[in-house]
Subunit: 144 residues, 2 copies
């Protein structure tokens, strides 16, 4: 079933579609609140069993900001030629991963941060809410 928001024309993506898109992506953005103001950080990530994981370095700005904090995580994709696109938003809580079995499993995953720092810390985003939207391809003039 396709749910279309009558006012915006946006198609609401179901939970399964959201996680398929999250599972296929490589780069997303994490937003955190710092002194009452939002900040956005692009990250390489992976989705594993309905959670989002990314790595960050000890001592970085992001490392100190996310632990035990509310975060938002977003991915999107666009098709400029068709003037359409989609986005998935995960609202959740972030925490540094300390479980050794999980850390071993994460290190076996194909996550390849593009920056060259050691990226020693894994952060998990446990979702409180996941939502997605897709813009249906624009109708041509003949459709109006």
């Amino acid at each position: 079933m396709t749910l279309i928001d009558g006012r915006t024309g946006l198609e609401k993506l179901g939970d399964r579609a959201c996680w398929e898109l999250l599972g296929a992506g490589e780069v997303g953005r994490v937003a955190v609140v710092v002194d009452g103001a939002p900040q956005i950080f692009p990250v390489n990530y992976l989705a594993l069993e309905r959670a989002i994981y990314f790595r960050t370095d000890e001592g970085t700005k992001l490392r100190g900001l996310v632990d035990d904090r509310r975060v938002a995580f977003e991915i999107d994709g666009v098709d400029p030629m068709r003037r359409t696109g989609w986005s998935v938003l995960v609202n959740g809580r972030a925490e540094v991963v300390t479980d050794s079995l999980l850390l071993r499993r994460l290190r076996e995953q194909p996550l390849h941060p593009w920056a060259v720092g050691p990226k020693s810390t894994w952060v998990r985003v446990s979702p409180l809410a996941v939502s997605g939207r897709r813009i249906p391809p624009r109708r041509g003039p003949s459709d109006h």
Copy 2:
């Protein structure tokens, strides 16, 4: 001059490079703080005279959230084949545009929101800080 962060290996982009990237983009993400938690919204935008403008509809969630609030705005680009990418972050304050001359000028700009809602409200993000980072292309094994 190229500034490289010795720990992360990221190249810091200068102000001019940031605005060139902002001027060339079409889609960005706005982060706002709602009840202490961050939220991210993808938007079509345009950069005009060192400010960011996007449109939103009356009555939408975003419309009620941004006026006179601290926001973060982010764009990024990736080159998966070369495993490199860049990002530009604008931290600033958002306000609904009410100046009629500015509104007329904005309506003449080539901003084409992909969703079909009326998008009647223009929002301006006045930058407090602009920063950008680029990941230098990864060196090959022979470079190590």
